[in-house]
């Protein structure tokens, strides 16, 4: 790997006694689309704000393009940010908002005008130049915020939950706009979100954070198929987790034994994705767990059935509509959940 | 990022500190110090003697003025609260929110208009030959002497404090959750019980704040007692003015001032305790 554009090294951020980010190490390459994802309070926004110079790390270093940025104030960095609230200036019109960064960089009026019109055109806002911000729709404001950041031609763009205020159908459209922009411009996007669908739909690499630490870094597929730990498995959801002690290739769980031939003796946790689960009324060969049907949930990616195992824990299986019709489950019905042995992923910790 | 104060931060922080230190804290401290100064032959000399304190606090007329002022301020606070309450209640529950906003606006306006001229107008209205007595005369009554009395002073006090008391009460009443009142109705509470057990406790902070501000303002006011109350017997503020303006008796006026501030502090803390303290 060539020199990364951004490097966090042992970065830590404390507010008094509470720790927002602890010993963070992260490289971001030139031209990469990285999403930082996690539940609220996990330190993802603090990480982004430190990159933009709006917070200074308590310990560690942040470098951009090889240069240590710790003491460079926000306004001397080239790290424009699309804010969750968009933070458009309400007393300036569309064009003046877009030109703000250029003006701060001392660009002349003619150059400002040319560039702002160029970007407003590019983002489909031609004709809106002199509109007031409160005369725009949510999606239009979004694009003004993007234009305002991109007009200075930065080498990276930071985005903090930019789509969280939009309607669902607009979110999908804006995801398309963002992915295309990032590909066309070839610049780095660092995208903070709590939404899996946004992160997995757009990012080359997803960083999952929890409790101020990185829980896992990987592609969507890696995170889905081989979550590193329980936190990630639970956060991405639609996973079944079995924990217990391995002895002679058998994982002893409260729900029964699960064969785990390769595993060394000792405590272990495995995860089986809901879409790898097979549901049947008759008892199949191991590995299989008996469970009572609870309810079903229709979603975009198939139907998820919820079961209750003997110890009260919840199990999930994703099925197709046809499978559902064949099973015809009624609440309380007894079923067997089983999976091909290779679908079980053993987590590290 | 605001761990250590930057130049930028200090530029915004310092003006208030410097100004208030120089022209608010120092004057009050100086006044307190002055209460221990010595006055001889109409000249003040910095000193540290209890003379002025002994002299003022040892005199009957100081205490007469003190209790008169305290009593009037307390009465004004109670009267203003009682008179304001039906109006605040009406503004909070019986009119549209647009009407309420306009009413609040018209209650703010007098606060910023000359109190002095309004008091002069009352002097005209309440005079022996004034319009009110003329109207009473048409009905074969009066004339009633209303000026230069406790009544006159009270009219002035109410002019000063009623708008503010109504505003504070209205805000606290309007903030009560309507469901609370509906729940009380549903549970069969009579209007009286609803008022006593639901509305008054819920609006407690605003009611107490209103009364407290009325007390503070009337306690320190000198215009109403002077121009409508007849200035005799004097209130504490009239005492301060008389003592200051007659000769160089500033140190004695300072004693009165400190007694007033002490009283107001006690009253304010008692009120805060009553407003925000635990119930029962």
């Amino acid at each position: 790997m060539t020199e990364p554009l951004v490097a966090f090294r042992g970065v830590e951020k404390r507010y008094g006694a509470s720790v927002a980010v602890k010993s963070l190490d992260l490289d971001i390459a030139q031209g990469e689309f990285v999403a930082i994802m996690g539940p609220s309070g996990c330190g993802k926004t603090t990480t982004l704000r430190m990159l933009a110079g709006l917070e200074s790390p308590t310990a560690g270093t942040i470098t951009i393009g090889g240069k240590v940025m710790n003491d460079v104030p926000a306004h001397q960095r080239d790290t424009p940010l699309v804010w969750q609230s968009l933070a458009l200036f309400p007393f300036l019109n569309v064009q003046e908002n877009v030109e703000f960064g250029l003006k701060m960089r001392g660009k002349g009026e003619r150059e400002r005008r040319t560039l702002s019109h160029l970007w407003l055109d590019r983002l489909g806002l031609k004709g809106f130049e002199t509109r007031a911000i409160d005369q725009l729709s949510g999606g239009q404001r979004q694009r003004v915020a993007l234009a305002r950041c991109l007009v200075t031609e930065p080498q990276m763009l930071l985005l903090d939950e930019p789509l969280s205020a939009l309607d669902a159908h607009l979110v999908i459209r804006m995801q398309g706009v963002l992915t295309r922009l990032q590909r066309d411009l070839g610049i780095t996007f660092v995208y903070v979100t709590h939404s899996q669908s946004e992160a997995f739909a757009m990012a080359d690499r997803v960083v999952i954070m929890g409790h101020g630490e990185i829980a896992q870094i990987g592609t969507a597929r890696e995170i889905f198929r081989s979550p590193k730990n329980r936190f990630v498995a639970e956060f991405v959801g639609r996973n079944n987790i079995f924990a217990g002690d391995v002895k002679a290739g058998i994982l002893a769980t409260p729900l029964g034994p699960i064969p785990l031939p390769e595993a060394p003796d000792g405590p272990a946790e495995i995860v089986v994705a809901a879409d790898r689960m097979v549901v049947s009324r008759a008892e199949p060969g191991p590995p299989a767990i008996p469970a009572a049907f609870l309810s079903e949930e229709f979603g975009g990616a198939g139907i998820v059935l919820y079961f209750e195992a003997a110890d009260g824990s919840e199990l999930k299986a994703q099925v197709t509509e046809g499978e559902l019709a064949d099973l015809a489950p009624e609440p309380g019905d007894a079923f067997w959940l089983h999976w091909p042995p290779e679908a079980a992923h053993r987590m590290k910790g | 990022m605001n761990d250590r104060p930057t130049l930028y931060a200090m530029v915004w922080r310092l003006p208030l500190i410097l100004w208030q230190a120089a022209f608010f804290v120092v004057p009050l401290v100086l006044m307190a110090a002055m209460s221990f100064w010595l006055v001889q032959n109409y000249r003040m000399t910095p000193n540290f003697v209890a003379d002025n304190w002994l002299r003022m606090l040892g005199r009957g007329y100081f205490w007469d003025a003190y209790w008169l002022t305290l009593g009037r301020a307390a009465l004004a606070a109670v009267l203003a609260s009682l008179i304001a309450f039906p109006a605040s209640y009406a503004l909070a529950f019986r009119v549209s929110s647009a009407t309420r906003q306009w009413a609040i606006f018209f209650l703010i306006v007098p606060f910023f208009t000359s109190y002095l001229v309004r008091i002069y107008a009352w002097q005209v209205l309440l005079a022996e030959q004034g319009p009110i007595n003329a109207a009473l005369g048409l009905g074969g009554m009066g004339p009633i002497s209303m000026l230069n009395s406790g009544f006159g002073a009270m009219v002035g006090y109410l002019t000063l404090v009623l708008p503010l008391v109504v505003i504070l009460q209205t805000f606290s009443l309007a903030a009560i959750d309507r469901n609370l009142i509906k729940a009380a109705w549903n549970l069969g509470a009579t209007p009286r019980n609803t008022l006593l057990r639901v509305i008054l406790p819920a609006a407690r902070v605003g009611l107490i704040l209103g009364a407290t501000f009325a007390f503070i303002l009337t306690f320190g006011d000198f215009v109403s007692p002077f121009y409508l109350g007849g200035s005799k017997p004097p209130t504490l503020s009239i005492l301060i003015i008389d003592t200051t303006k007659s000769g160089q008796q500033w140190p004695r006026a300072a004693v009165v001032a400190i007694m007033m501030i002490a009283t107001l502090f006690v009253a304010a803390f008692a009120a805060l305790g009553a407003a925000y303290g635990r119930r029962k």
Binding site: A52, A74, H75, T79, Q84, A87, F89, P90, F91, G101, M104, D134, T152 | N2, P5, A9, V11, W12, R13, P15, L16, I17, W19, Q20, F23, V25, P27, L28, L30, M31, A87, Y89, A90, R94, I108, P110, F112, T113, S114, L116, V117, R118, I119, Y120, A121, L125, Q129, P131, T159, L162, P163, I216, G220, D221, I241, W250, A254, I261, L264, A268
Partner: protein, 259 residues
């Protein structure tokens, strides 16, 4: 309309009559021909205005009042804004003491402020000067200005200022390009209200003014003499001045809230 509503409205009308009766009376009698204020009114005249404003000392008092109000309002607004911004933007040790210092002056009775100011300003050799009145009125006005600016800043997305830095504005440029434009209606509002406060204040001004009287101090001294309808005339002008300032201030606040 329910009977309860009618009673409520009648009560409100009576209350507002009480509050506005003196204001109305003063305006009414300023146009009454008779020297003594009695009913029935004897005739319409603008004579009292003419007489009042024929006196050079009245003009001088208005000039003094305007100068004091403009200076005190400017200083109050400046200090009030700095304080409000500090409260909005920075956290620091002793912040509650800082805010107490900012908001305490209105709780001290004006008579006492007058005495303390007189004592201190005469030490500084400023008693009897307009500068002295400006200083005193700034102390009284700054808390109002602070409150108004603070309320406006409360409506500002805290990300707005950070967004300016993020786009390359230094803290100073962020102040000039974002915070000040956003706060400007409140600044005008604060200026008008503190000007009105100064224009009407007479107790502290009376203590420290000496020969340089402001309008209300002059009214105060005329009041100690005989009944004089000129007071109604001067008072009406004072009313209209401070009312306009207050209404202007309110309009600035309301207009921005609507936007």
């Amino acid at each position: 309309m329910k009977p309860g509503d009618i009673v409520a409205r009648a009560y409100l009308a009576a209350l507002f009559l009480f509050i506005f009766a003196p204001i109305g009376t003063s305006i009414l009698f300023s146009f009454n021909a008779d020297r003594f204020p009695t009913f029935p009114l004897t005739g319409f005249t603008t004579d009292w205005y003419a007489r009042a404003f024929a006196r050079p000392e009245v003009w001088q008092a208005f000039r003094n009042s305007v100068i004091v109000a403009l200076c005190a309002a400017s200083l109050s607004t400046l200090i009030g804004f700095c304080t409000a911004y500090t409260d909005f933007r920075f956290g620091f040790r002793f912040k509650s003491a800082y805010l107490a210092l900012a908001l305490l002056p209105p709780t001290i009775p004006l008579v006492i402020m007058g005495l303390a100011m007189l004592a201190w300003l005469s030490q500084l050799g400023l008693s009897g000067t307009l500068t002295g009145i400006v200083i005193a009125h700034t102390v009284l006005g700054a808390p109002f200005a602070m409150a108004i600016c603070r309320m406006r800043l409360q409506q500002m997305d805290p990300a707005l200022e950070a967004a300016a830095w993020n786009l390359g504005a230094s803290p100073w440029a962020g102040m000039r390009r974002v915070v000040l434009p956003f706060t400007s209606p409140a600044l005008i509002s604060a200026f008008c209200l503190t000007a009105a406060v100064s224009f009407d204040e007479f107790i502290v001004a009376w203590f420290v003014s000496g020969l340089n009287k402001t309008v209300p101090v002059m009214i105060l001294e005329i009041l100690q003499g005989n009944v004089d309808p000129q007071i109604n005339a001067i008072g009406t002008v004072v009313f209209l001045t401070s009312m306009s300032l207050v209404i202007l201030a309110q309009l600035m606040i309301l207009r921005r809230r609507a936007a």
